[in-house]
Amino acid sequence: MADSTRALARRGSGSGGSVTPGSAAPWEYAPAPESAASGRIKPRYQMFVDGRFVDGRGGDVPTINPATEGELAQVSWASVDDVDDAVRAARRAYNTVWSKMSGLARGKYLFRIARGIAERSRELAVVETLDNGKPIKESRDADIPTAAAHFFYHAGWADKLQHAGFGPHPKALGVAGQVIPWNFPLLMAAWKIAPALAAGNTVVIKPAESTPLSILVLAEIMQDAGLPEGVVNIVTGAGDIGAYLVNHPGIDKVAFTGSTAVGKLIQQSLAGTGKKVTLELGGKAANIVFDDAPIDQAVEGIVNGIFFNQGHVCCAGSRLLVQESVEDEVISKLRDRISTLRLGDPMDKNTDIGAINSAEQLSKITELSAAGDAEGAHRWTSPCPVPDKGFFFPPTVFTDVSQSMRIAREEIFGPVLSVLTFRTPDEAVAKANNTPYGLSAGVWTEKGSRILGMAGALRAGVVWANTFNRFDPTAAFGGYKESGFGREGGRSGLAAYLDTDSDTADEGAA
């Protein structure tokens, strides 16, 4: 494995491609594998209901390591009866314990969980990388610390909800049913659980079928933290269990992160039920590079925007809009830079691009890329070696892309960048906003007034200027238009878990 993924220090014709004078061969990266043993992967994992690890009645299903296609562990899956049990446990915990506890006490449990994640961060990073396929440097430096930060941030809200701007006596909703995706398994769990608990709700949450492990380690942390039984319940399984959960009559709130198609189904099926719904769905972000941008930094931002987490990011900068006058320079530097990205063993600390999470996702990326060829775009693929085993897709850039092509309209959710060009700022805005999505956008320019002007004109929930893919629990995240509604993080993220819909000032919520 390590041999096949060992990439050269520099390839192609980039300026850094020369070798050390006198040496016969270019420098190579020595493998620097993280130890799989620190993940303490168990042969079998159970679901977590009412404070205990229990067998589900949905049978055992293996979860695989997408980098090797080998089985990682068996996971006991839930049946619908288990979901009923979990909802009942959550309701009981809400009625008897959690809704009666002071905000300060709730907060202290959340602080404990934050500490627990930090303490077991190395183990969690390994578990995440083995189960998901993302590079260890990303799970270690981004996913896990940000998950801990989310608990730490929301812990402090638990006794300050009256200051959140939703009236003097903000009330919890009750039991939250949550469904999360496979791209950031632990981080998405933290985004969902931490605000729900801080606001005083209890939770039934379903991780993605292909990435159930890290949240079950989180369950151990919550158990060790003494979190009261039933406050958080984790049911494992596939889409049918998720659908059953979000439509369960015993829950009061639904939070979903995933595809726009599924989000629409959920919104439709919950219409008229009075349940509060928040959806964090897909995106097709424009990353806009003006001719006065700091090009080298922009190239780094473009790379980070589309290749972070193999492009399995709803807010990925998947449409590069580059001003015509600098197109050649940007594309040339971009190809040089991408050629240096190391693809392969996610456990290697040198690896930049890990494995695609599943065979299904790989085939979707392959299919959409083929559509790019068929519709006349020009494909360029990084010359990096691709391992023979595991699900991998090399970094790919399409140029000569027009707005009507599928690769410019549909979310690919993989390491595939579509490049479009523009001449004027107005054209950039029009093209950037020409999508049913509206999750994120990037702007690269040295001109401050243009940054602020663009930030105002872009119909997207997050605008990164001269940076990309930054996340923080204090900063609200969420989409415009068909990228969903509701926010996660910050003060507006709390609204998702509080009863804030009263129409008049004297009904509680202001």
Binding site: A455, G461, D472, G478, D503, T504, A510
Partner: protein, 357 residues
């Protein structure tokens, strides 16, 4: 812009053909408030006929006391068109007497209204909060100026007693004043500077959702209508409003207030007609971002909420039956707000020593 609108309204008024027996505002405004609505309407209509007879027998015809009655039309893009379908439906008072023919908006009218709203959205949402506040305050001023007309209209059209009608109009004026003062508070109350754990300046600011289709209450034709419209436009959204079907007249008259309030044409578009007929077209329209379902209930409310899912519209439905006489909370304001978070590196002041990005 304002001039054009004003002249349009003036032209409209000038060309309005007298219909059979629409409320004659000029005469009715002068009338006392003692009689009940029914008696008043009956007497007014009798009076109209008598005046007609008098006029017919007048000596020279230069001065006529025949009241000019109003044709109630739609309000789209700052203009008052008839329904493109040519359809109207009779509007009756509280005891069944004929009041006027209202335009029955069609799917095409609804689509025209969405186009107008989308066109207006850019300018309205881009206006300064101070400016939006002044315009909404101006609406209150115009409504105050027409207070007597609306009191009369509510008594006629809704069967309100004089006191209740006056209270509803005064509350509507107050509501507008309340929201006029919200425009420049939203960003401070609902926005934030985010203390992120890194060298970045990050802020979150509320922005309008876009074009909102609102179904106004069926039974509270002025205060309910104003209470629905005001929070939508306060934050910079544009609205397509479907009025009460049975009581559309105050809405059309309110459109005249809006048209003379410096509110850019298209920011509020008013359709009279059937929520059941127009609802699905609006709920599935891809250029509408949100629905306010206050004025529809039962199966229609559920069906429209379901339709909205096809384009992930934000859907606002009040808890229970809203009491518009109470002080507004912020739920309606927040329902049509997005939060936008912007990040920028903070870097080093000197920019020396390499990248600050």
């Amino acid at each position: 812009m304002a001039q054009r609108r004003t002249s349009t309204a003036a032209k409209d008024a000038a060309t309005a053909a007298p219909t059979k027996a629409a409320p004659a505002t000029a005469t009715s405004a002068n009338r006392g408030d003692k009689a009940g609505a029914t008696a008043r309407t009956a007497s007014r209509r009798t009076a109209s006929r008598r005046v007609s007879a008098d006029a017919g027998g007048g000596a020279n015809g230069v001065i006529s006391a025949v009241p000019v009655l109003k044709t109630y039309k739609l309000y789209i893009g700052g203009k008052f068109p008839r329904s493109e379908s040519g359809r109207t439906y009779p509007v009756r008072g509280s005891s069944g007497e004929f009041l006027a023919n209202a335009a029955q908006a069609s799917r095409k009218d609804a689509r025209d209204a969405v186009v107008a709203a989308r066109k207006a959205f850019g300018g309205w949402s881009g206006a300064t909060a101070y400016n939006r506040g002044q315009v909404i305050y101006r609406i209150a001023e115009m409504l105050q100026g027409r207070r007597a007309q609306f009191v009369e209209l509510l008594m006629t059209a809704e069967g309100y007693g004089a006191k209740a009608a006056a209270a509803a109009v005064d509350a509507s004026i107050d509501r507008l004043v309340h929201y006029a003062g919200w425009t420049d508070k939203l960003a401070q109350v609902f926005g934030s500077s985010n203390p992120v754990a890194g060298p970045f300046f990050s802020f979150s600011t509320p922005e309008p959702t876009g074009v909102v289709a609102a179904f106004a209450p069926q039974d509270d034709s002025l205060l309910g209508l104003v209470s629905v419209i005001a929070p939508i436009i306060t934050s910079g959204n544009a609205a397509v409003v479907v009025t009460s079907e049975a009581r559309p007249l105050p809405a059309v008259t309110l459109a005249e207030v809006l048209a003379t309030s410096d509110l850019p044409g298209g920011v509020v578009n008013i359709l009279t007609g059937s929520a059941a007929e127009l609802g699905t077209h609006l709920a599935t329209h891809a250029d509408i971002n949100a629905l306010d379902l206050t004025g529809v209930d039962g199966q229609l409310r559920i069906a429209l909420a379901r339709d909205a899912a096809g384009t992930v519209k934000r859907v606002y439905t009040p808890h229970g039956t809203p009491d518009f006489t109470k002080t507004s909370g912020t739920a309606r304001l927040r329902a049509f707000l997005e939060t936008k978070t912007v990040w920028h590196p903070t870097g080093a002041i000197s920019l020396a020593g390499g990248s600050s990005y």
